[in-house]
């Protein structure tokens, strides 16, 4: 038993060292520590996996899955790099930069940067009743009618979810994701 315990400890240490070496993100520029928007780009992709869209949300059966960035783009090239080659339920992923909330009706996910804070009600109104997942970079986004908002908690990216907004749009979110998120309801 002593021998096997020692072996366990040794193996564990080896695993830790090995994993620490891998805690980096491979990019075109080389290996670097992931930034906040690297994480958020991955999260946007993950949202696509934990939320279900009705078929009516797509123009055609083979229409791509569009992730749109409304207004100024904080990701740079990260988002495109992250989404490259990925598919959602057989659909190709595409990124689009849009300027007006009305353009967002053909998107499946709309990311609203901090620059759009003033246009929030307009965005919400434009997409009301449509199966478009709205994601805001601002914590208050969900309180003001958005569906998901990012939040930084001790430099870790966390998410808030407004389930009511999601329900109204005809989308459904996995309970797994809901479990991880802080549930927020819209402020009147």
């Amino acid at each position: 038993m002593v021998t096997s315990s020692r072996r366990l400890v040794a193996g564990l240490l080896a695993a830790l060292v090995w994993s620490a070496a891998l805690r980096t993100v491979p990019t075109a520029a080389g290996t670097r520590t992931p930034t906040e928007y690297d994480v958020k780009a991955v999260y946007l992709l993950n949202f696509a996996r934990f939320v279900e869209w009705p078929d009516a949300g797509f123009a055609t059966a083979t229409a791509p899955f569009a992730i749109c960035v409304l207004g100024s783009d904080p990701f740079g090239s990260t988002l495109d790099e992250t989404l490259a080659g990925e598919t959602i339920a057989g659909r190709n992923l595409v990124t689009r930069r849009i300027a007006h909330p009305t353009d967002a009706t053909t998107c499946q996910i709309v990311f609203t940067g901090a620059s759009e804070t003033t246009r929030l009600p307009a965005i919400v109104d434009a997409l009301a009743g449509r199966p478009v997942l709205t994601v805001g970079d601002e914590t208050a986004f969900t309180q003001r009618g958005g569906m998901i908002s990012f939040r930084l908690e001790q430099s870790t990216v966390r998410i808030d979810v407004n389930p009511e907004a999601i329900r109204r749009s005809g989308l459904s979110m996995s309970s797994q994701l809901l479990r991880l998120a802080r549930i927020v309801s819209a402020q009147p």
Binding site: S4, A15, S19, R179, L180
Partner: protein, 521 residues
């Protein structure tokens, strides 16, 4: 082992069925146990795998959204399963994303070498490791590893042991009761048989019969036993009958034998009496003959002497008739003298006082031939003999015997000059002498007659003699305990045989001699 052999068949049968059933049960329990244990191991592995898969499924989001706390909470749910010692969720890059320890003393996390070949569960010592990949929507997002101790297995083991022991005890109890009841099927008829056999051998009562139940081997045994008893009984009756007959026959035979013995005793007594009478009359006769011939000699000598004197002194003076008469008288007197002298010799044989001696029979023959010298010379006879053996006898009597036989042979010669040969052979404990001549011989039908006293085969005118010589021979031979006989054919000569026993003459003959001797004195 010897104690087991002495055990009653009742207990043997019970024990045998008990041993068989308990053994079978134990084997069955062992097989079930092995099977159950194997199944428990497989189940444990499977349930661990299911649990790992469940954890993976639930924790996928927490990995994807980098929420170790949430993952930790999911792992924490493993606490409901006390068998899980440690658990861990690994990110795809291999770093431990969340861990769980049942107790603080447990190792931080199970060793997981994140390779495909370790995805199967395996048993390590008293632990079991299961590693499962976490896939979400076709994409691998991480791994989950569980480590379980085998507390469940040992629970299964001890539970099964207890159950097996209980079942075994119960079955031994029930089996014992059943065997006790069922053994009677087999043992009751056997014991009945044994009881009957005991009764029979104790009371010797062969009329007892065993009750035969069923046609199995014991039934056959019982029937055979009964048949045997029947045979014994029949034989007993026959034996009894035979014994009765036998006793009856023995009694009858005994009676017959007693009668026969009585008759024989009477006959013997008569015989003894007659023998005594005969012996006495014989002795009286001999005494009479001896005394008579002895006393007759004296007056006869006077008659003979004076008639001879008369014939010599008055030769030619008497008339021719008177001379003829005187000659007749002299002849008669001489013949009577010979007769008396021969009779005396005959009578003396039984009175011989001399004890037997061992002598050379050749010497005795020579003495006989000396006595016969004149006769031999006159007749021109030639007497030859082989080598003759030593004999135990009364020598003067044996000389007399040779003398009579050789004299006889010379006397009855034919026209040829007599040739006489004496020889002897020893056989069967006696010496057989033979005296062969080439004389006139005689018809063998007279062979017995010639040994009787006063019996003559020829007219007195042709051959002189008193007719006593051979009777004397016979008496001498018989006195020595031997036999005498003759073989002869007319004109072919005669051979006289006699035997002398090589042992001493039997006691009876001696007794008789003494008896007669005493009476004579």
């Amino acid at each position: 082992m010897r104690r087991l052999a002495a055990l009653s068949i009742r207990w043997k049968v019970t024990l045998a069925s008990m041993i068989a059933s308990v053994t079978v049960l134990a084997v069955a329990c062992a097989v079930f146990f092995a099977h159950e244990l194997g199944r428990a191991r497989v189940n444990l592995g499977r349930s661990l795998q299911v649990r790992a898969d469940t954890i993976g499924l639930v924790s996928a989001a927490s990995i994807l959204f980098d929420d170790p706390k949430a993952a930790g909470e999911i792992l924490e749910a493993s606490r409901v399963d006390p068998g899980i010692v440690t658990a861990a969720i690994y990110a795809l890059d291999g770093r431990p994303f969340a861990t769980y320890r049942r107790r603080a003393s447990e190792e931080n996390a199970p060793v997981v070498a994140l390779a495909a070949d370790t995805m199967e569960g395996r048993f390590v010592g008293d632990r079991r490791l299961v590693t499962r990949p976490i896939d979400f929507k076709g994409k691998r997002v991480g791994f989950v590893a569980l480590e379980s101790d085998l507390a469940d297995l040992s629970d299964v083991k001890s539970g099964f042991m207890l159950a097996a022991l209980l079942v075994l005890a119960l079955c031994i109890g029930i089996g014992w009761l059943l065997a006790l009841q069922l053994q009677r099927l087999v043992t009751r008829p056997i014991l009945a048989l044994v009881e009957s056999a005991r009764t029979i051998s104790r009371d010797r009562d062969y009329s007892v019969r065993v009750v035969v139940r069923g046609g199995d081997e014991i039934g056959v045994l019982a029937r055979s036993f009964n048949e045997m008893l029947e045979q014994v009984e029949e034989r007993d009756v026959e034996l009894e009958a035979a014994r009765g007959t036998l006793e009856h026959r023995v009694a009858a035979r005994t009676r017959e034998l007693q009668l026969e013995i009585g008759e024989r005793c009477q006959v013997q007594a008569t015989l003894v009496r007659q023998t005594e009478e005969l012996t006495r009359s014989n002795a009286d006769l001999e005494q009479f003959a001896y005394v008579a011939s002895h006393d007759l000699q004296e007056p006869l000598r006077i008659v003979a002497s004076y008639t001879q004197l008369l014939a010599e002194t008055h030769d030619g003076q008497l008339g021719p008739d008177a001379e003829k008469y005187v000659r007749y008288a002299v002849d008669g007197a001489l013949r009577m003298q010979n007769l008396i002298s021969d009779l005396l010799a005959y009578a003396r044989v039984a009175r011989a006082p001399a004890p037997p001696q061992t002598v050379a029979s050749g010497d005795l023959l020579s003495r006989a031939l000396d006595n016969l010298q004149l006769t031999i010379e006159e007749s021109g006879a030639r007497v030859t003999h082989d080598e003759l053996p030593m004999v135990r006898c009364n020598s003067s009597q044996l000389v007399q015997l040779f003398q009579n036989l050789v004299g006889n042979a010379i006397k009855f010669h034919g026209e040829r000059s007599p040739k006489i040969h004496v020889e002897a052979v020893c056989r069967d404990g006696e010496t057989e002498f033979s005296v062969r001549d080439n004389g006139i011989g005689f018809d063998s039908k007279y062979a017995a007659k010639i040994f009787v006293i006063f019996q003559r085969l020829h007219a007195r005118g042709k051959y002189s003699g008193t007719g006593i010589g051979l009777a004397v021979c016979k008496k001498i031979v018989e006195h020595h305990g031997g036999r005498i006989w003759v073989e002869s054919r007319v004109g072919q000569g005669s051979t006289f045989f006699f035997t002398i026993p090589q042992a001493a003459p039997d006691r009876e003959a001696k007794e008789e001699v003494r008896h007669v001797g005493v009476e004579a004195s």
